[in-house]
Amino acid sequence: MATKINKTAEVLDKLKGEGKVVSMGTVQDIATISALTDRMKSVRRDYQIKERNSQMRAAQVILTA
């Protein structure tokens, strides 16, 4: 007889049964994730400029030695 294995479901069901699972859909969590997203937008803008400039400058650097 085939055996279905899903230990994740067993672990999560057990944790839920013990009241140890909390959704991150709370107002506070949504605000935290939104602020994190905003900070990452800034990181992305910073990266895009650095990456583009790196690429443009790279055309001027000849490696010969």
Partner: protein, 510 residues
């Protein structure tokens, strides 16, 4: 013409090689002796003293033959087309060992790779693959591939990284690094193919205004373009844009990830005339003293810097470790080690010593859309935003890219990881590549088997960082954050986590 086959000990090697250079390359004996002493000796000197050599000549080397037919044969000068091959073995070998099936396993265990010599004086070191096991000093971890080869008509395998000197005409440092990179990837992964020098010229023809041979080197953008054409999602990082601290962190991150990188070193802004390409493929083994000496991480992100200061968190970054990196340099014998800040200080010519690493090129798998700079920042934002970090905590962060296959294989067999969390990781759907951050502290990370107490896993194929989309799971301080399909959102689970041994399969020890 029959093949000359010679067995020589390390001390007998010089006279045998000199004689072969005289007969095979038509060199004067004095010139051959000088070449051996100035060029070949340093490559042999670093090999263990109880090594033996099986020498074969003439040997047809595919890389030199490509250069010969595409360039050297078109000259007036009488360039020879054949090479000499030295196969390296640990301890004494005998001719009869190669003809006795019972001896072959022992011979394979003692096989340490090969060096070819080509008639392109004075740069005569050709395609070579030496196992780090062949070296007197090999206390390092590096990227290495398995290569099939032969010696005395018997098939062998060697684990190492391809190396060659530049011939300065068909391959300069730039083309040599591209060749070595593709030789490694082409032999290891079916997605890529090894390339020969003429193929590099062919690929770059469309972006070259002038003739390409004899080679005058390549610019970094051309090298990145070639890698893109060979199938990679190439990224370029520059010192001027990222700054010395962040550039070194990105450099160390990719090396910790087992990704070989092309490195540009330069001293022209300091009045020098060096612009050189080499490869970095590993780093030294981490010693407790290096961890203890690690300073607090200088955090550039204002939010994270504020969290660290406000809560008096001692935050350490593995990529800040003061360590030696393993390079592959076509001007030097295989596997030289040096610091990020002084990548050429071991050159005999002192005018090279003030070179800096000014750029590096990363050949990423094309579907790794989230590169290291954004991934590093994302992981730190997750740690400091979504988890409650106690005042006066100590955090040691180790961050790297891994294939989910290798990572899950390691996790599945990791005896220190508790069963419930192990099942959660192994049953979680993951892309081909993941970014992983292990959270530890200085005491745990310097254990004989280094350990961590937290983990963040991020999807390397998810470039959209809004709403923590790349996050696969994160666990720290007994709190697990992962996507919960039953509610269609992330959830927090209270799951005490025991310390576990870290993942070290990206780099190979010898």
């Amino acid at each position: 013409m029959s093949i000359s086959r010679i067995i020589a000990s390390k001390v007998e090697l010089r006279s045998e090689i000199v004689d072969l250079m005289v007969t095979q390359f038509s060199l004067q004996k004095l010139f051959a002796e000088t070449l051996y002493d100035n060029v070949v000796h340093s490559n042999i000197d670093q090999v263990i003293d109880d090594s033996y050599y099986f020498i074969e000549a003439p040997y047809i080397d595919k890389v030199y033959r490509d250069s010969y037919y595409s360039y050297f044969s078109s000259k007036l000068g009488n360039y020879k087309k054949d090479s000499i091959r030295l196969s390296i073995f640990k301890e004494e070998i005998k001719e009869e060992d190669f003809r006795n099936p019972d001896s072959l396993t022992d011979l394979q265990n003692r096989y340490l790779g090969f060096i070819t010599l080509r008639p392109t004086t004075p740069q005569i070191i050709g395609r070579s693959i030496i196992s780090p096991k062949a070296l007197k000093v090999n206390n390092f971890l590096s990227i290495a591939g398995k290569f099939a080869t032969t010696a005395n008509s018997i098939k062998f395998e060697v684990v190492g990284f391809p190396h060659s000197s530049q011939d300065t005409e068909t391959i300069s440092c730039a083309e040599t690094t591209l060749w070595a990179m593709m030789e490694y990837f082409g032999n290891k992964y079916p997605e890529y193919k090894p390339v020969l020098p003429s193929r590099i010229v062919e690929v770059l023809r469309i972006v070259s205004a002038e003739r390409q041979i004899p080679s005058k080197g390549l610019n970094i953008q051309q090298m990145a373009y070639a890698l893109k054409e060979f199938g990679f999602g190439t990224r370029i990082y520059s010192l001027l844009e990222f700054g010395a601290i962040e550039l070194k962190r990105l450099f160390a991150t990719y090396i910790e990830s087992g990704v070989p990188i092309i490195v540009a070193v330069d001293n022209r802004d300091k009045g020098g005339d060096v612009g050189h390409a080499l490869l970095c493929i590993g780093h030294d083994r981490t010693a407790a003293a290096q961890i203890n000496a690690l300073p607090l991480s200088a955090e550039p992100n204002p939010f994270i810097a504020n969290e660290i200061a406000t809560k008096n968190i001692s935050f350490f970054d593995n990529s800040d470790l003061d360590r030696n990196f393993v390079f592959v340099d076509d001007n030097l014998p295989a596997y030289p080690l040096n610091k990020f800040a002084t990548p050429t200080s071991h050159y005999p010519d002192a005018s090279w010593h003030n070179c800096d690493i000014t750029y590096f090129i990363v050949p990423l798998y094309p579907k790794i859309y989230l590169e290291a700079y954004e991934a590093r920042n994302f992981i730190k934002q997750v740690l400091f935003s979504l988890f409650t970090i106690a005042n006066n905590s100590e955090i040691f962060l180790r961050f790297y890219l891994a294939s989910s296959r290798s990572y899950k294989h390691n996790i599945a067999l990791n005896p220190t990881l508790q069963d419930d969390f192990k099942a959660l990781i192994l049953e979680t759907e993951m892309p081909k590549f993941i970014w992983v951050a292990e959270i530890s502290n200085k005491a745990l990370i310097q254990q004989p088997v280094p350990e961590a107490t937290g983990l963040i896993i991020v999807d390397a194929t998810e470039a959209n960082v809004s709403n923590v989309k790349p996050l696969i799971l994160a666990i720290y301080n007994d709190e697990l954050i992962s996507f919960d399909y039953s509610i269609g959102d992330f959830s927090r689970k209270l799951l005490p986590l025991q310390k576990f041994s870290i993942f070290t399969d990206n780099l190979k020890g010898f």
